[in-house]
Every structure is written in structure tokens, then in C-alpha cells.
Symmetry: C2
Subunit: 171 residues, 2 copies
Amino acid sequence: KTLNEVLFFPSEVACVEHVFTSLPRSCLCPLRHGAETSLSRLLRHILSASSSLDLCVFAFSNVNLSRAVLALHARGVTVRVLTDKDYVAITGSQIGVLRNDGICVRCDANSVYMHHKFALVDGRLLVTGSLNWTRTAVQSNTENVVVTEEPDLVRPFVQEFNRLWESNDPA
Amino acid sequence: KTLNEVLFFPSEVACVEHVFTSLPRSCLCPLRHGAETSLSRLLRHILSASSSLDLCVFAFSNVNLSRAVLALHARGVTVRVLTDKDYVAITGSQIGVLRNDGICVRCDANSVYMHHKFALVDGRLLVTGSLNWTRTAVQSNTENVVVTEEPDLVRPFVQEFNRLWESNDPA
Ligand SMILES: [Zn+2]
Ligand SMILES: [Zn+2]
């Protein structure tokens, strides 16, 4: 059956350490443990990438989502990040962290705002919605994320990502 | 077959008069005529409502989208609008226009931002994405809108709309 899932935010505040490490009871932080939340579901979908992650997001400052992207890169997954030219230099932006890790990042210079918030996992799974990848969006805003494998939805986003990626080639 | 469609923005600039009036060649404006664009497709999906439109949008200043909502209301379609408490008073906001027309509007007062941008047409068709219903978003930004009848995606949004609507009852 084709995966179709909707995540709503704000996400319940809970520790997401278990998404990154399989060790039980390994975390001593004061947050609630063992809960599946919208954030933990989102992280699991991102971390499910085995070959590629194409990320197209206006604002990226969430450290948990950054950790997930860095984990994929460390694992050999091909990561491409397209982001807005103005947001990239904002305090707390994780884009510099990703670049310093060797991840290929391009900034959209062609539009007023590059306002997308989507990710493509292995070119197969689409993660898209209203949610910017920020701490405020995850913890405080009313937001949605659609997660789908429906080919009629995934295919246009794959094409759009490739089009934007090529049209913002800095070379 | 279940409808699944993706619209990308910025939309090509073209006259959308033909979406509202069936008269051919009725418009004398200087814009290009007869073109189907992302905006005209979006308007057609909204205008396809026959019984209800539930709209949950952070920012609403686009006059074409406002005209579509007013047309539905005039036709007897039940319209409910949920919007962000801070954006409602911004210059150009169409929320006052909708209220003056007798449309039921509620403001989300419970979250930092009510950042959703989705509409439910007859509780059957979901229209959701990164696009705020503003002129800048439609004409200048890089944006997406997913249009789907997939029940596994529509159902959670129907529940979420009803939950937010009830929890923001001003009475
Ligand atoms: Zn912990
Ligand atoms: Zn015209």
C-alpha cells in the first residue's frame, strides 16, 4: 500500500534521542522519553534515506533536523540542499554547519522568496507542507507536513527540485 | 482515479477572468488571455466547491482568491475561514472583506503562528502547500500547492480543521 501520512505541529515536546541511537535508556536528559511525536516521525522519515536526500527549504535552524541530515551524509547518502538566499545568513541557520560538513548547498537567487519546505527521500518519498525546519515551527506553530509515496505527487517535486537545482548552479 | 495534482509558483502572469465568467472574449484587460496557469488551476479547484469550503490560511491578501471565496459564499456554499490573529489586521488583508460579506471567520489565538495554508473543498478535496494566499506568494515566490483527493491525506486535515475550529470558538 502506498504510504500516505500527515503530521501536525506543534510537536509534543519529548526527547528524540531514540531516533538517532538504538541504545535503550541511553539518554539522561530531562525530557520525556519513549514517545513518538510529529518531530520523531518526521526525523524517522528523513533518516530512512538510503541513497539520496534532496532538501528544498526556506528556513533551516532546527538542530535535530540538522543532526539527521549530517547523519545521512556521514552514512554516504547523497545530500543536496537548496535554500533561500536571504535566510541563509540568519542567526541559528544550520546551512553553514551543513556546508562545513561538505554537503552541497545552493541558494535560490531567482525569486523573491524560495518558500518551499519539502524533502525527497531516495526520490521516492515526498515530505512537504507548511513547516519550515526551525525550532519555532516545530515547537510553537500550528503546522502540517504531508508524507507520501504517491507517484503522481512525488514525480512533479522531483522534476521541480532538479529544475531549481540546475537553474541555481553557481558555476 | 483519485485526483493528485501539484501546482508550482510563481504563476505565469495572465488574466484569470475566464475562471469566473464563462463569457468568451469578455475581458478587455491588458494581460494575456486564454492561458491556464497555476493560479487559474488553483482558482478552479476552489471554485469547484458545491457544499463547503474550509479554509485555514496564515495570510490572505490575494484579491483573485478572495473573489473566488466570495463567489462561493454568494452561491450558498458554507464557508469557514480560520486565520492567524496577527496577520488579520495587516494592510491588504482580505479577512475584513470576507467578514463584511457575512463569512464566518475565526482567528487562532492558541499558537505563536497559525502557519497552515490549506483548504478543504466539500470535505473531499485537499489543497495544501507552502503558498500563502497573497499576491507576492502567487506572483513572485517559489512555492508549491498539492491538490489531492487521497482519503488518507484528506481525512486528517478534515479532523484538524474541525479541532482548530472548535478550539478557537470565540463564544
Ligand atoms: Zn533524552
Ligand atoms: Zn483580462
